[in-house]
Amino acid sequence: MSDYLKDPQIHREIIMDHYQHPRNHHLSDDKTYHKAHMASESCIDDLTVMMKIDKGLISDVCFDGVGCTISTASTSILTDLIKGKTLEEAKSIINSYYAMIDLKELNEDLLQEAVAFQNVGKQANRIKCATIGFKAIEQMIKEEETHD
């Protein structure tokens, strides 16, 4: 792993940056977007994530709502990661992320900035925050696949 991605200082900065300047932080009026509203049961996050899929490709993804640093930053990073990817690619990113959260395996090529959350799995009470956006995307992909 590159040093860049091992340094906790860098992790913090990545999260700070995505929390204070979340990417793709808006919603779309376009009715062809998929939409998932996630209201966490154990914390107070309340995010809506939207995604446009064109012929198996994620052509756009965006989100809005209120959330803590962890949920906001992780969702922001995720939107960056999967925009322009195929559904299959997005699924392997999400699965790699879950593997990292489970403290099993770290795939830095796929996860890129998301490696900032490599230790969040040690804080059981933050796992829901760190995965809320991923759950939303997963749900929408499933929706798309079953409607095919």
Partner: protein
């Protein structure tokens, strides 16, 4: 004057803290610690009298039934009402649902208005929303002040002839304002309406007198007032209870029924108590009330207010802290740290041993009044100390966003 040092010896959770576990509990609006006397009342049931109630077939059952009814007497004295006006439920939420089902759904009709506030707990407002939907009644909201307080003037302005039910919390769980229940009740009755009071946050913290206030219904939970979870109370004026429908049916609430479906229900309060109740929790509630009475409700109110005032005076000086309810009269302190999401603040405080709650506190529609979607709530009880408040203030003095993040990713 209340002796906190001595009081803390009565609570095992406080004893552990004072022995040095480093924790500070400031989430008393969510639930409270239990004194030994309550724990003993519960365990005595298990070890000495573990039988069912409401039957006189053998001595022990008779004895436990009697103790169960003694709690009803104790509650009646504590609220200043009649015994038969005290219904045991499984908690404040159940009391509020029973009222909404048994009274509001039965007696409201199209065109009637329910007057409430935007600071209500979900457990109060949601059952009313359902009653409104089913009956065709509508809910109107009394405008609150900028700080989220409900004033008599605003109430008078909102009241009108179509209002048949006023339903508000005596003390809001988010902002801690004590509403002028006696005056509101007087006005309510002048319009021929009835008032249902959510006392979940008031009964544990200030003296209750339903007769003096003349309120029609009151709901609260034991677990927020030193008692066990799983039990609450609905007080209702007897004449109103008598007209009300039972929410649940079953063993214990029917005197007789036959195969044709003719059911003869008992009289209130038994009509509303179906099935085996939370026996040991009810016995624990009695011990909790005796403890509160021993300390004194007026003393509790005064001391909690003193703690709150002390906290506000300290927090006011911290530039990074936004206080939402500095003027509220009870022990609820609602705030945010500039630039830090409420939950991150709570988790940071947790790392310092401080237990507070982040959230919208189940009063989700309130955000449209105080204009912030999430807050941190620290709520004191009479077993809290000024030193504990200092711990909170110190932690907030040095909090940074970086530290909050580090806590989660390290």
């Amino acid at each position: 004057m209340l002796n906190v040092k001595e009081i803390r010896k009565d609570f095992p959770m406080c004893v552990k803290q004072d022995a040095g576990n480093g924790k500070v509990y400031l989430d008393n609006a969510a639930t409270t610690f239990k004194p030994y006397s309550v724990i003993e009342a519960v365990t005595r049931y298990y070890t000495d009298e573990s039988v069912n109630i409401h039957r006189g077939d053998y001595d022990l059952s008779y004895q436990v039934s009697d103790e169960y009814e003694q709690t009803r007497k104790t509650v009646a004295r504590f609220l200043n009402c009649e015994e038969r006006e005290v219904i045991f439920t499984s908690g404040a939420s159940a009391s509020l649902n029973l009222f909404a089902y048994g009274w509001a759904q039965k007696f409201l009709k199209k065109g009637d208005v329910i007057l409430s506030s935007e600071a209500e707990h979900a457990s109060n407002i949601l059952p009313l929303m359902k009653a409104a939907e089913l009956t065709g009644a509508t809910i109107e909201y009394i405008p609150l002040t900028e700080e989220g307080e409900l004033t008599i003037e605003a109430f008078k302005g909102a009241m009108h002839d179509k209002v048949k039910l006023v339903s508000i919390a005596h003390i809001s769980n988010v902002l801690g304002f004590v509403h002028p229940i006696k005056e509101l009740t007087k006005i309510t009755h002048e319009y021929g309406a009835i008032i249902s009071v959510d006392g979940a946050q008031s009964v544990p913290h200030i003296k209750t007198d339903v007769k003096d206030w003349d309120i029609d219904f009151l709901s609260f939970s034991a677990h927020k007032m030193l008692g066990p979870t799983g039990v609450g109370v609905l007080f209702g004026k007897y004449a109103l209870l008598d007209q009300m429908d039972a929410f649940m049916l079953g063993g214990g609430n029917n005197a007789r029924f036959d195969i044709c479906g003719n059911i003869q229900l008992k009289n209130p309060p038994f009509k509303f108590e179906a099935g085996t109740p939370a026996i040991e929790a009810v016995l624990g509630l009695k011990a909790a009330i005796l403890y509160l009475e021993k300390v004194g409700m007026d003393e509790i109110e005064a001391y909690e207010h003193e703690l709150k005032t002390y906290a506000v005076s300290q927090l006011k000086d911290l530039k990074n802290v936004i206080l939402y309810n500095p003027h509220a009269g009870t022990g609820i302190i609602t705030f945010n740290v500039e630039g830090i999401f409420a939950q991150d603040t709570a988790i940071y405080l947790n790392s310092k041993g401080l237990m507070v709650r982040a959230g919208n506190h189940c009063a989700k529609i309130l955000v449209e009044v105080i204009k912030t979607s999430e807050t941190v709530r620290a709520s004191v009880s009479f077993y809290n100390t000024k030193e504990e408040v200092d711990r909170l203030v110190d932690a907030l003095r040095t909090i940074t966003l970086e530290q909050c993040i580090d806590l989660s990713i390290m």
